[in-house]
Symmetry: C2
Subunit: 241 residues, 2 copies
Amino acid sequence: MKSKWDELQDNLNMHFQEVNLLKQAFTHASYRNEHRKAQIQDNERLEFLGDAVLELLISDFLFQAYPHMPEGELTRMRAAIVCEPSLVMFAKRLQFDEYVRLGRGEERSGGRRRPALLADVFEAFLGALYIDQGIDRVREFVDTYIIPHLADAKVGVDYKTALQEWVQQRLGVSLRYVIVEERGPAHAREFVVHVAVGDTVMGIGAGKSKKEAEQQAAAAALKSFMESASEERDTSVSKTD
Amino acid sequence: MKSKWDELQDNLNMHFQEVNLLKQAFTHASYRNEHRKAQIQDNERLEFLGDAVLELLISDFLFQAYPHMPEGELTRMRAAIVCEPSLVMFAKRLQFDEYVRLGRGEERSGGRRRPALLADVFEAFLGALYIDQGIDRVREFVDTYIIPHLADAKVGVDYKTALQEWVQQRLGVSLRYVIVEERGPAHAREFVVHVAVGDTVMGIGAGKSKKEAEQQAAAAALKSFMESASEERDTSVSKTD
């Protein structure tokens, strides 16, 4: 039979070498206090580490995505992303609350739904993944589960603006958004949008409004531009070595 | 003729692919303001990024070096390391103040010696190195120029305690410190200390007191233990892939 930890790893499409690290990330201090003999560790130290990992990855993303944004504005955006409400939203979307290990008292008093507790679990999970598999794997996770949802997080991330800045600075070309499909009944309309440079489609997005579909298309294009830039950088590094 | 930027890179034993990033790290906003036509960028965005890189690397070091330290104490130590006085000390030791590009007004008012300005330059430099060469190269820099000097930084890093914890937890053995040499005249005595596990010397340190030499020896041993552990982890990752 599959354990709940196998199930969680399957859902996230990952495999921990040390599954105890994964368990530790989901272990609240109240659970450890009730299992002292088993020498279980809680997630507080992992949260310390995971917070720093997340700060760096979000800083790196914002730095690259907004090449002209002043430092003060970058700091404001980072604080709006790495904050309790956003982290709780990411944790809930991944159903992390179902995996938290709590002491009985904490469980009875509704600890499982406490925002601070869930935010800590989310950061501890990033810390565990970092220890187990290194920063590049955490970056993949952040690129998959956080970056594409920053527009929902109401932190002021506007992918159309970010993409526009990126493309103008590096390529000196302009962008075109095209609605390629409208589908579904009137009360549940869905739009599909392409963003293109010349005739080349750079990203595709779908959403319940044109605006949402454009944001998703811009996010996809930005991600692919950033990935090629990072590969180019890696190639040129190995060339000069 | 060698430029001052070549000289700086030679001193640090590194070579930037984009030397403009290095220059940018040393450029204060007051210099940019006086050279608007040249489209020079200042170091504020790089400082935003470098701060996050440093936070992560120091968090990672403390997490590994102190496997039993509670989160609150780790946070306290990190704050004592990533703070203006420590950063200024690191920047001065590397003579970064000589390379700062300031506007004339700022220069006249003694900006070159302002601690906040030097701390910012130090973080911006780490940000530039991260962009140019990736996190592993910044980690090497931090391991070379910061970690070995944390005992001087008066942040409460005690390498003997850290090493003791590391060795007991993972190897279940105990350590021995041996003074192997006392040299120099009475007013400028120098001590050389070995730290050994059984008959194997794990680290060598020198200092003006036994205590200082022991700290240096412990720091060297801890570094070598951490490096082997990290290599083992890397090897086991590639095995399971």
